[in-house]
Symmetry: C2
Subunit: 350 residues, 2 copies
DNA sequence: GGAGGTTACGTTCAACGTAACGATC
DNA sequence: GATCGTTACGTTGAACGTAACCTCC
């Protein structure tokens, strides 16, 4: 069994069981992958993938488990590489973020700007994700970090770091019935209007629906989107009362809309960073977390990821709406890596 | 980076940094290992091992971490192999047990006999271990399972399965002052005599010492051993009052000695099986656990090992001294493996 | 000078890609 | 007949072992 065989298997699986496509991705010939797969199956003594004659049609039950284990192996190898890159003080690499649109649009820009200033050759890739969706397959997608919002207690698997808290705000066009309130909008008032809010709030177990049903009320949705900016568009178009994260509000929105706090009974949301358990985290990924949540301790994070401790995280601070006004975010002093960096040529004498 | 390189690194480390010795173990030439190590170090960009000129003198700090990660990789690969062997219904393989002498001598014989009957080609290797020693490096030694005793709450790392409980018994020669008691020996009486007991009970945080000091008493040791049979020898020689696990008592001992229960204030001991977290467990290892602790659920164990659940284990039963009298232990019905076994030639159609 | 690690070199075999083939839709 | 996987085969290069070399006790 070789790493190459395992990587081929995963490539084939990730290419939706198309060997030719997987071969392209791996920059190898198709027969080569075919062969590696066969070798692996021969060694294990059973089929991993099911065949319809000559085409691959699925994964055997045992294959599922093999794939899970194979993923662990290649992740572990990636960890060694990442660790070495940290030791070398390498400042290049990939950073694959899976994040809801709201963070990508309203939280990450200044933060990533600072990060890229520090690591000019860093390659950040932002993968969009539904506001609250895909909590299960958290970090199995190979990404380095996932950002999620929760209002309840269901934290997805992996190492979950509470970054900051934020509140939802009510958004109505000037001249709307609620516009003259000048105080938090009560749950009852929310229930009386058609709402325009996040897709994820529509689920009956969402914090919004639960807060309303706890008060004996029920939400009525005019329209929902995954994207706070789209929500604004529909509020502007008069479809209903908007309910968005304060993160998404910019100065111009306060000009155009009337923005009111929501009933305090509507729970705060928490932004979490989810790190894959056991994988070594690159220094720049920790830097990103530091920028998002200065209250977190880097060593605590490392210990949590490698499983050697289960720290009690500090309560996250409230997000300040106009991040830029508070000054450009700063990076902690370097190096943050847990080990002393060795210049490559140094000969280590005992 | 290849698996071979990682394996070479570990072989060198495990051969106490002697490449030549490691080469012998790996059935390869010494320059080959030397080369693999160099390739790995070149790829990582820093030294893993420290050199005094041409001899290897130690491990760099970063190297320690690389070794830790490398161990994880090769363990994970071993897991794939073990899983495949389970799927194939393979009944051959190694089972490396690390166990205190008492279990090896008094608990395992009938159990392993049954196991070997079921798996005639199984290769069991028993590694001796101090009665309570080496709790940290639990399963890092590459073994499949570790048996330990605890009387307190300090359970070593890994997946700890409570197998059974046992009590300590007081052992005195016929004619000894305590011999006519015919009732449990009180703590005060124990403290008045020189004791002959397990090495591990000598530690000031042992359950024996704690029980005595809680009663304002202090133990006096005449002699201690890791081996219950040695303890009997010294009791026979009149060195003091013996204190041994009931497991270690055989019919002949009741003839020769006077055996009395110890004060109930002396806590019961629990026998634990420690499995390495995350490693796939071979079916025969689970069978062994079943024989030792029929109350444990096989699927619970699998879930605990792969990290997908953290079951509440049932309270272990009390060990019965004369195991053989209760009948030969029986194995659960087969197959216990979590997956359907595939005959090797079967073509899986989707 | 011996134990133990590195360098040099020739050989071998494993892995790759091209091309031909087969099967399935 | 187009798509996709397998088999066949020739070539190349990576990895191994032997032997020579170095170097520190």
């Amino acid at each position: 069994m070789t790493l190459k065989e395992l990587r081929c298997l995963l490539a084939i699986v990730d290419a939706e069981l198309n060997i030719s496509a997987a071969a392209e991705i791996m920059h190898a010939s198709q027969p080569s992958l075919s062969r590696h797969l066969k070798l692996l199956e021969d060694e294990l003594g059973f089929q991993i993938l099911m065949r319809h004659g000559r085409s691959i049609s699925g994964i055997t039950p045992a294959g599922q488990e093999v794939i899970r284990l194979a993923r662990r192996v290649v992740n572990d190898v990636a960890s060694i590489r990442a660790y070495a890159a940290n030791v070398r003080g390498e400042e290049t690499g990939d950073l694959v973020l899976t994040t809801p649109q709201t963070y990508a649009r309203h939280v990450l820009p200044p933060v990533l700007s600072t990060l890229i200033q520090r690591y000019p050759r860093l390659n950040v890739r932002i993968q969009n994700m539904g506001e609250g969706a895909a909590p299960e397959r958290a970090c199995d997608n190979g990404g380095d970090m996932m950002l999620v919002s929760t209002a309840g207690d269901r934290v997805p698997p992996g190492v979950a770091l509470p970054l900051f808290r934020w509140k939802r705000m009510v958004l109505v066009p000037r001249g709307h019935a609620l516009a003259r309130l000048d105080r938090p909008v009560a749950l009852g008032e929310l229930a009386r209007h058609a709402l325009v809010t996040y897709e994820s709030s529509r689920r009956s177990d969402s914090s919004l629906c639960r807060a309303l049903s706890d008060a004996g009320l029920r939400a009525r949705f005019a329209c929902s989107a995954e994207d706070a900016d789209l929500i604004k568009v529909y509020v502007r178009a008069g479809l209903g009362v908007g309910l968005v994260g304060e993160l998404a509000l910019e100065p111009a929105d306060h000009q155009e809309f009337v923005v009111l706090p929501a009933d305090p009974a509507l729970p705060e949301c928490v932004a979490w960073a989810i790190l894959p358990t056991g994988r070594v985290v690159r220094d720049y990924a920790l830097d990103l977390i530091q920028l998002l949540a200065p209250q977190l301790d880097v060593d605590d994070i490392r210990r949590a990821v490698d499983g050697s401790a289960r720290p009690a995280w500090p309560r996250p601070r409230l997000w300040q709406s106009d991040y830029e006004d508070v000054g450009t975010p700063v990076l902690p002093s370097r190096p943050i890596s847990g080990v002393t960096r060795l210049p490559m040529q140094t000969t280590y004498l005992g």
